[in-house]
Subunit: 527 residues, 2 copies
Amino acid sequence: MSFLHLKSSKKLQNLAKSAPNLSELSLLTPERIEKMAIESLSWKMMYATECVSLEIENALVELAEETFALKKMASMQAMEVMNYVNNCESENRSVGHTALRALTTPKGASKPLLQAIQASQKEMEKLVRFLPKVEKFTSMIVVGIGGSYLGTKAVSEALEAYKTSKRQLYFASNIDPDKIYTILEKVDLAKTLVVIVSKSGGTLEIAAQEEVLRKRYQERNLDVKHHFVMITGEKSPMDTPSEFLETFYLWDYVGGRYSVSSMVGAVPISFLLGLPLWKEFLRGLHDMDLHALEEKNPKKNLPLWGALLGIWNRNFLERSTFAIVPYSQGMHAWTEHLQQLFMESNGKSVAQSDGSFVNWQTSPVLWGTVGTEGQHSYYQAIHQGTQVIPVEFIGFRKAQVSKDEDISGTTNQEKLLANLFAQSLALAKGQHVSNNNRFFSGSRANHILFADHLDAYTLGNLLAYHEHYVAFQGFIWGINSFDQEGVQLGKRLANDFLEVMKGSSHAVKDESLVKAFLSVLKKKQKK
Amino acid sequence: MSFLHLKSSKKLQNLAKSAPNLSELSLLTPERIEKMAIESLSWKMMYATECVSLEIENALVELAEETFALKKMASMQAMEVMNYVNNCESENRSVGHTALRALTTPKGASKPLLQAIQASQKEMEKLVRFLPKVEKFTSMIVVGIGGSYLGTKAVSEALEAYKTSKRQLYFASNIDPDKIYTILEKVDLAKTLVVIVSKSGGTLEIAAQEEVLRKRYQERNLDVKHHFVMITGEKSPMDTPSEFLETFYLWDYVGGRYSVSSMVGAVPISFLLGLPLWKEFLRGLHDMDLHALEEKNPKKNLPLWGALLGIWNRNFLERSTFAIVPYSQGMHAWTEHLQQLFMESNGKSVAQSDGSFVNWQTSPVLWGTVGTEGQHSYYQAIHQGTQVIPVEFIGFRKAQVSKDEDISGTTNQEKLLANLFAQSLALAKGQHVSNNNRFFSGSRANHILFADHLDAYTLGNLLAYHEHYVAFQGFIWGINSFDQEGVQLGKRLANDFLEVMKGSSHAVKDESLVKAFLSVLKKKQKK
């Protein structure tokens, strides 16, 4: 059934016509603030500053029930086929990223789940044997794009404060030659490992980067076989273990954007930060997986509740974007990873149930940078712009570093937190004054997520929170969050441009258009 | 008059009802692609892939005329008072960032303009004397937030390929203590300059960071006076030249987000990359200033034409976001600077002419990362999501580095360009197939900006393009792009939180709400 025709959806459409206005004096009370807070594991969410009432909350709970959100989460985690679109040729397979961190085998596990857990444990054992062998290396270059690096980058940088070695991690993530040559200037190849990530083993950009690196090693008379590590699908064209120091496997049931808990994240992060930290991170992920699965009350299920509040803002209050702002410098790459997670998963227009085009909105544009930096940048528009931008603030009670000092009566970490809370309150409450230029409408939806401390376990909790937030939204919207057909057309056309650039005789579908673009490109500027 | 009641605006509202659909076979032709390209200075814009017809283009030209966009640009550059809102107390002053790079004094220059040019030249002379004095330093820490660092970071990183020294630049841009302690681990204070940027001389975060650094220098028995450089307003509380190695000045007619061409950018960038490069950058800015001022045909005035296409997408096709994607790794910080430039300038709701609330949309949410990285991330949503996201692609014919190699018949730079053009074409043309999951609607607006090579002059051109793009949009929307009242409420409330945290007896307006937030913060998690 269409999302818009659900009973709860109709209720919500009505309720949206008179959504609570938080700038009204009587509404945003201390009681509301203290009451509207839920917690799970290491995280707490304060959502008194979302534009919801008890009636709206109840209708959101109904929406989760009507769309079988929790049931679908159970199917996903049991590795039933969830990556499909009816009436369309599609990938048609199960989704298995939660199996990567299943620390124990659940009772009554399905056969595919059992197999996935065993396969994952086998790679983990390989990693345990691999790490001692590479102790002499000081740098690692990860060659990967999109999901093969965004998550690893976000997690490794957020936890870099726990680094005990001098090791460095570099990401050759862009085909832009300026990127790889900058890295090559910084590393000593003799002490550098190269990790190549390509599930299909056939990505053009990856092959090109590998080739550049291979040449450099050969020029220095270094044996690639002692330096290159491969992460790929079993039986892919790059599954040629004899050519590599080690080959780790990925499976088609782990999408790139969900792959950080596979060897894609494990190899670089355990190299940089050690295996105990990596295991702690997995434990954090796994605990949130279980919470998402087992907490049957949507108002207490953190990722499900976050997803529902997001849908309220997206579909009923018609907010087209969503800003996520961590008040933590270490998390500056987090939102970039989430952009892929949210927008590649749910930037879709086709109903899973019958392959028809949806007539409701799906993923908002996900964006944001770290606080307090954003405050001195785009917050002007968040407070006084013509469109309302819902915000998720993320913060920590304590700083990552142990050092901090008292300046005019408060520490820097306290100043950071004061800013975070102040923004949440300012957006909700507004400021109604007679000078219109200093008028703040208020009632701008936001919520706060916070934890004690940014460590591996807490970050694992958070990553799984965001992964399941996205999965729940996909379940509720009735779309397939696990494929990415939208990237194919650009790939095909890029190859067409390359064929024409090379002057090849290969037939190209839109040859006259391609040539017109290239003719403008080639014309010399007047100046 | 209201933007919506302009004659041209009404025309455009009508035209939007039957906007051209670029996925129709007959529309996107080689002729259209070759014809719809304009150039100025080092840049070319291809806009055949925007959803416009000749009739729409003509109405956009009328819109520029009806709103006196070019006349307002002239007023701004002549330093008439343009930062004001009628009927509201406001900053009420002129806007002078173009004076900072006026290499010669224009004929018939107004008195404020003459004074601003002279003041700027005086600082430039100071810089010329200063640089030889700091030759022995190898690192610089810039303490600044928002406009005091985003532009400097974007420009210095984009041009870092031209660095000839081993010097390093660090930005202490966040109050988060994790940030500054990470920097302190990397530098040798004896060889490090600290540049403090604070126009008002009273920003809490800056003072706190300065204090931390001051202590570290004192602990090492280093004289702060030989290491600290101040950039501030004349007569600000921090205008105490005897305490600093050098003090450079800023003026109230240069807003933070427009300050990169002042000493805020000049001191760090010329320290890192040399004075000749800095001068070349200024020349690039100045030439684009003159182009924006003197090209009276809106269809040939690059920033004005960009602004008009943006307004077509924003106000008439109702696109709420705008993605800017440079296909150049060096420009990875560019969009973050533009977020401030766009959203702090035009995230406004008040009409400049009478202080009333506007009933039309202003700044879109500006976001994006570099290509090709984005292709493997959020492009799914750009191609197949339910909302259309206009895109500005930025690219270069040649790579910054001279090295590049041929792999399967094309260089990496060619592969990068092929990808950029392919995306533009894919978005416009779409792919109408029977499998809905592989269906691309097409007609998704975008344009391409490209130049030969990312160097100082070209980047100067581009920065001024974006600055004037924003100014023209503000002029056309009839809002004040030069103040930022929207950041004040959060600042005030942050101080309230700090007072309560300290347990001070200072009266706090929303004390019960502040205390409720803090009480939730303090409660221990169950787990």
